[in-house]
Symmetry: none
Subunit: 250 residues, 2 copies
Amino acid sequence: MTTAEERLTRIRIVLCQTSHPGNIGAAARALKTMGLAQLVLVAPQKYPHPDATARASGAVDVLEAARVCATLDEALAGCVLAIGLSARHRELVGQVWSAREAAVEAIRHVSAGDVALVFGTEMFGLTNDEASRCQALAYIPSNPDYGSLNLAAAVQVLAYEIRMAAALVGGYAALTYRPAAQDEIAGLHRHAARTMRDLGFFNPERPRRLLPRLRRLFSRTRLEHEEVNILRGILASVDRALKRARSGKD
Amino acid sequence: MTTAEERLTRIRIVLCQTSHPGNIGAAARALKTMGLAQLVLVAPQKYPHPDATARASGAVDVLEAARVCATLDEALAGCVLAIGLSARHRELVGQVWSAREAAVEAIRHVSAGDVALVFGTEMFGLTNDEASRCQALAYIPSNPDYGSLNLAAAVQVLAYEIRMAAALVGGYAALTYRPAAQDEIAGLHRHAARTMRDLGFFNPERPRRLLPRLRRLFSRTRLEHEEVNILRGILASVDRALKRARSGKD
C-alpha cells in the first residue's frame, strides 16, 4: 500500500526546451510546495543558470536533483503514462482531459509506475512530435481570449491538482477554543434585552423582531466563553452609565 | 441572472505591500488567464516598474487598470466578503477554508457584490492586522515541509479555482440575504470603539486585544446589512444615554 506522499514522488514533471532558466527554478519551487520531487529537463536552452537558482528559492534541492536529458524519449523512459499539457487541441492525441481529470488519472496510474506530465516551450508549447509521444493531453480551463499561463504557473496549477487528487490535505490544525455554554448565551441575551430596554432602544410591549434577530446573529457566530464575558462587560458598563444618568437627573 | 464570466469580474485580487514588482506583473497575467480583471495594489513597494510590465506579458491591460490604494480598508471598500490567504493559522479569524472551498464561497457571494482575495507580502504574508480585516482565511493545501508558494503562483492557483467554481456554480445556492459591505462593517467597528471609550470600557491608551477580538467575533458571523443598522442603533442609543448622563452631572 502506497501512502499519498509516496504517490507524489512517482509523478515526473518534464519540461521540454525551456527558454528561460527562471522558469525552471520557479517550476522546481512549484513542485516542492506540492510535495513533488522529480523534475526532468529536456534540452534546456540555458541551464544551469543563476536565474534558475534564484527563482527556486527554498527548492534548490529539487532543482539540483533535476535530471537533464537530450530527448523526450529518454525523459519518458520507464513511465506508464505521459500526459502532455496543451492549450489547444491536437489531432494526433485522442484523449483530452481537464487539469483536474488529468491529475486524478495520473494518481490512479502511479500504482503501476511513474507518470509524466510534459510541458513544451514558453512560446510555442509542445511540438506535434512531442505531443504524439503522450497518451493523453491535458488543458487548464482558462480565459478563451487569453489562455497563456506562464510556464511555471501552469506547472504550479498541475502540481496543485495532483496533490489534491492524492488527497493530501495538509495545513491547519483544528481550532482550539472554548465554546460558550447555552446557559451563558441565554444569560447574555437576557442581559442585553434588559439593558436595551433601559436604554429605550427596546420596548417589551412592542418587541417586533429585535431579540430573535440578535439571537440569530450570535447563533451564527458560535460564541466563545470569553467572548460572552467581554459582551457582558460592555453591557455592565452601559448599565453603570445609565445609573449615573438617572442619579444625575434626580 | 449573471453569467459565469460576469461573476469573475466581481472578484477583486488585493496584493498588500508587494516587494517585487515582477510578482505584480505575473499576478496580472494570472488574473487575465482566468478571466479576472480587478487587481488592487495596497502600498506596493516599487510600482510602476519595468519588471511588472515585462512579467505581465499579454496582460498589460489588467496591470494598467490596477487600482493603487494607500490602505487595505480603502481596497476593501464595497466588498461583501474578504478572504485572506494565509499559510498559517491565525487566532483572530474564525473561518478557515481550503482554496477550493474559498473559491466556491467567493463565487456564491458575488451575487451580492464584489469579493476580495487578500494576499500579503512575499516574505511574511498578511500581518495580523490585515488578517483581522478579513472574514475568513484560505490556505492552499501544500507540502507540510515547504509550503512557500511564490506570490504570483498562489494568485494563479486561487484564480484558477475561482474560474473552476464559476463554471460549476449553477448547482450552488445563491445567497438569500444581503451581506454588509466592508465599509459598513468598518464604520460599525469605529462607532463601537468610540462608544466603548466614552463608556470607560475601552482605553485607547491601553487597547489590549479588545478590538481585534470583537472584529473576529463579528467576522465569523458575516454580518448582514440590516444587522449592522441594528447594532449601530443600539450604539447610538448608548451615545444618547451618555450625553444625558454628562449633561445631568453638569
